[in-house]
Amino acid sequence: MSLFTREMACQELVELVTAYFDGSLSRADRRRFRAHISGCDHCTAYIEQMRLVIEGAGRLTEDDIEPNAREELLDAFRGWSEGREAD
């Protein structure tokens, strides 16, 4: 590792978590990111929190965000099957 590689500060790391998850960091930055978390429990906890945010968001069901979705689907399906019978 280059002597000139600047160490990553915690405050910089928190801005790069999504890029890290998406695999879009440069190789140098990914190396600095990993080097940092290998020695920083706080940032490890922070990254875990971000992972839990994603996991939690993924558990929101259609019912949480679209209470009418099922009705809409049923309506559309009724319209469709009536249309077919008419053909």
Binding site: V14, M50, V53, I54, A57, L60, I65, E66
Partner: protein, 183 residues
Amino acid sequence: MLHVAQMFVRDRATAEEVVQETWLAVLNGIDRFEGRSSLKTWLFRILTNRAKTRGQRDGRIVPFSSLAGAGGEDDEPSVDPDRFLGPDSRAPGAWAAPPRAWPEDKILERETLGVINMAIEELPEAQREVIRLRDVEGWTPIEVTDALEITDGNQRVLLHRARSKVRAALEMYLNPDVAGGTT
């Protein structure tokens, strides 16, 4: 689906119509579905195409891409700067008020999920739509940039802002003593 449609059209009623039309198109065209993409991708491609056409016809003035850049959000820090040591300290930028570990099962409790849902609702529109597509619906970055016609970097910035704010809201709920700061 309704949320996605609403990004392109003027009002909820129009979005509802577009969703209905999409389901009909899907049901009528299911024989032609070749399985080269996932059914979900195919369905949302039909939805966004229809919604875009409809939005253009009705003259919805603001395309999502301009919304995404608006709001002067460029310098929003992910975490309150007061949580880090200042430039004159021994370790500038290191945690002063570090985050705590969260138990996974606590996150999946109904009430906690409610906090997440509410935090998402309160986000600025562009951030809200991107986090819904990426994290709630599980879309890939490419699916999002295609549907919303924004750059990869743009969707990532919006997603990161969104996730960071949801995290902060969760921390306020789970560890108010850490997150509370001055308020």
